[in-house]
């Protein structure tokens, strides 16, 4: 089962390695990991996607909380959150496929960010499933390079009555 965990931590040298060291040392898996500063430059937000049974995820959450530099750990519930990933793709775009590539980009609300005689570089954001759909469609045309950011996620605001 896939779990997305959001971690607020002190923005200090070595903190990221405490987190990754915890995962590797205890044999927890990391599917993706994203980290950047928050509005407060002293605090970073890290989003980690892991896979495991509930008991493993519970241990991960507790172990993260135990790190002195970790301020808050939130397991983002799969029902009420927004997740996004950005991907940069370099796709073969020769005379007979250029128009098709552009159509796909348009359908998925992507952007062409670099153009050459033989390829387009495309920027796309979306949920993990949308990104996968684009990859599946463009793969037969020819993906020359792909770079993904990993998932970031945010809980939806609680609805007021």
């Amino acid at each position: 089962m896939k779990h997305t965990i959001s971690v607020l931590l002190q923005n200090k040298p070595g903190v990221l390695s405490r987190v990754t060291g915890l995962f590797s040392g205890r044999g927890f898996n990391i599917e993706s990991l994203c980290v950047a500063e928050t509005l407060d430059p002293k605090i970073s937000c890290l989003t980690v996607v892991s896979r495991g049974e509930d008991s493993i995820i519970e241990q991960i959450t507790k172990q993260l909380n135990k790190l002195i530099d970790v301020i808050k750990v939130t397991e983002i519930n799969d029902k009420d959150y927004v997740e996004r990933e950005m991907v940069l793709l370099r796709v073969k775009a020769e005379a007979h496929t250029r128009a098709e590539v552009l159509r796909v980009v348009d359908i998925f609300r992507g952007k062409v960010v670099d153009v050459s005689a033989k390829s387009y570089a495309i920027e796309l954001t979306g949920s993990a499933s949308k990104i996968q759909a684009v990859i599946d469609i463009l793969r037969p045309i020819g993906i020359k390079e792909i770079i993904r950011t990993g998932i970031i996620a945010m809980s939806r605001a609680t609805k007021t009555k």
């Binding site: 002190q10 070595g14 390695s17 405490r18 008991s55 241990q59 172990q63 135990k66 002195i68 301020i71």
Partner: protein, 566 residues
């Protein structure tokens, strides 16, 4: 106020924390610090190897309950300390380890004696720091002591660049420490206490399973009150020995791989296991699926990660053991439905059953009139010290025999590397313990293998007039590994025979210590008597039965009821 150097500030901070003794070894990167220490009332115990420094600080901390301090130089000084740090980490011992580091401009340049000790010790410290701004120096040290001694205790390392400790600073005033991301839970949730107490009221076969947390939180008194008020039999882990008096009726002794028959059977038959400051280590549980499989489990621990890590827990109580036990005791005092006499009556059959187990299979060994049995040595040590000595151990058979046969009645009297199982721990730990309590009897129970792992510390003991008594159970084998080879590897003794062992009596003399030897049973008592009367470092070399085993024994991975008995 005038400015002082970083080194002077560190010394002042140590004094502020009440530190009187530290354990260290100098080197290029910490010259300034050792120089500043000379002007203070703090004693540095100059060890002979940095591993010894950390173990000694650890032994000091375990017996005194205070934070132990070690001071090591950069590079190899720091890496030599790593085994000691990992040992303390596994057993939750409060230490502050100060390491020298190369000057800041050289960090990352592969400078002479440079090592990324903060990176190396990240997984085996509670927390660690590289101080990179002199303004942060004192605050960081204060934080290090705070983190080491609060919550679930542990070692904290502070790495100090050489140029930084030479920089001048204004010593900051002490302000309360507040780390927003570090707030251990000390007080139990009343709802959980209520739930636990109601469950305890219904239990017919309850067991108290007590670990090192009870000793670390100084809550032996509260635990004893609970056990006796409710007539609940007690079993202790290796780290928990002494938390409840081993000679009292309710004590079932140690549980687990080399635990007593009674303790392991009681846990297996129990309908309610009350775990207090214990962590369900594999040496305790054996095969997880069969561990306490008939019991509901209440687990009191200050560290939430310990709860439901290995074994599912029904009623978790995250709290300091002392506070949780006090709350439980108070609940029973206030509960009108609870009568200690009725409770004792209700649990009578259960206690009778535990006594039956003990009668059927007591902790025992095959006695011999001439050959020295290691268990007999431990029993004699116990008898002649009135059970009041501080016992440290090395690791292996010596450790298990000490745990089984030196009936511990007091907390902080048994100093052993439980989690990491570090050979070479006992001698330096005994030095640390002796430095904490110069007037008490401190005995290191050792094997001929493990004593050789930090034997250089004999010189330290001698230099600081530590009259430590070392009892070597000498069988010429790495006995515990040999026992496994005997039982599970068809008696193929691969690399466990020590054909060359020094003459320990001669060795003692070489260090200015007293060497004594016993080769027959009748020599054991006179040797121990003489050692205890000697105000000097003593090595007792007991030539024991070579192939004696530690029993009961639960083979690794088996259920704890599947014990091999004597």
């Amino acid at each position: 106020m005038g400015k002082i150097t970083g080194s002077q500030a560190i010394v002042r901070c140590l004094q502020e924390e009440g530190v009187k003794t530290i354990f260290g070894y100098p080197g290029g990167a910490v010259l300034d610090l050792f120089d500043a220490l000379m002007d203070s009332d703090i004693t540095n115990v100059l060890v002979r190897h940095e591993q010894g420094a950390v173990h000694a600080a650890d032994g000091f901390a375990r017996v005194s309950g205070e934070v132990g301090v070690a001071l090591l130089t950069s590079g190899p000084g720091a890496t030599n300390g790593v085994t000691g740090i990992a040992t303390a980490h596994m057993d939750s011992i409060p230490l502050v380890i100060l390491t020298g580091q190369v000057p800041r401009p050289l960090i990352g340049n592969d400078a002479f004696q440079e090592v990324d000790i903060v990176g190396i010790t990240r997984p085996c410290t509670k927390h660690n720091y590289l101080v990179s701004n002199v303004e942060d120096l004192v605050a960081t040290l204060r934080e290090a002591f705070h983190i080491a001694r609060t919550g679930r205790p542990g070692p904290v390392l502070v790495d100090l660049p050489k140029d930084l400790v030479a920089t001048k600073l204004t010593y900051p005033e002490k302000t309360p420490i507040h780390i927003s991301s570090y707030q251990p839970t000390y007080n139990p949730h009343p709802v959980q206490i209520e739930k636990a107490c109601r469950r305890i009221m219904k239990a017919t076969q309850p067991v108290l399973y007590v670990g090192g947390g009870v000793i670390l939180s100084n809550s032996s008194k509260e635990l004893t009150e609970l056990a006796e008020k409710l007539s609940i039999p007690v079993t202790m882990t290796l780290m928990g020995l002494g938390a409840y008096p081993g000679s009292q009726k309710l004590s079932m002794g140690m549980l687990g791989m080399h635990g007593t028959y009674t303790a392991n059977m009681a846990v297996a038959e129990s309908d309610l296991l009350i775990a207090v400051g214990a962590r369900f280590d594999d040496r305790v549980t054996g095969k997880l699926a069969d561990f306490a499989s008939k019991a509901d489990i209440i687990h009191i621990d200050i560290d939430p990660t310990s709860i439901s890590k290995n074994v599912r827990v029904d009623i978790p109580i995250v709290a300091d053991c002392k506070n949780a036990l006090t709350a439980i005791n108070k609940w029973f005092d206030a509960e009108s439905d609870f009568q200690p006499m009725e409770q004792a009556e209700r649990l009578k059959p259960w206690l009778a059953l535990t006594r039956e187990w003990t009668e059927k299979h007591p902790l025992a060994y095959k006695e011999n009139n001439t050959i020295i049995k290691p268990q007999y040595v431990i029993e004699t040590l116990h008898r002649l010290t009135g059970g009041k000595a501080i016992i440290t151990t090395e690791v292996g058979q010596n450790q298990m025999w000490a745990a089984q046969f030196y009936t511990f009645d007091y907390p902080r009297h048994f100093v052993t590397s439980g989690g990491l199982g570090t050979m070479g721990f006992g001698l330096p730990a005994a030095i640390g313990a002796q430095m904490a309590f110069p007037d008490r009897t401190v005995i290191d129970i050792a094997g001929d293998g493990s004593i050789q792992m930090n034997i250089q510390e004999l010189a330290t003991a001698k230099q600081y007039s530590c009259p430590v008594k070392i009892a070597i159970l000498n069988n010429g084998y790495l006995g515990m590994v040999r026992q496994w080879q005997e039982l599970f590897y068809n008696k193929r003794y691969a690399s466990t025979t020590m054909d060359v062992v020094p003459d320990f009596v001669e060795l003692a003399r070489a260090y200015g210590a007293v060497g004594l030897r016993a080769t027959t049973k009748s020599e054991v008592e006179p040797v121990i008597r003489e050692a205890l009367q000697t105000n000097n470092l003593v090595i007792m070399d007991f030539k024991i039965e070579r192939e004696e085993g530690v029993y009961p024994m639960v083979p690794a991975g088996k259920a704890t009821t599947e014990m091999l008995l004597v």
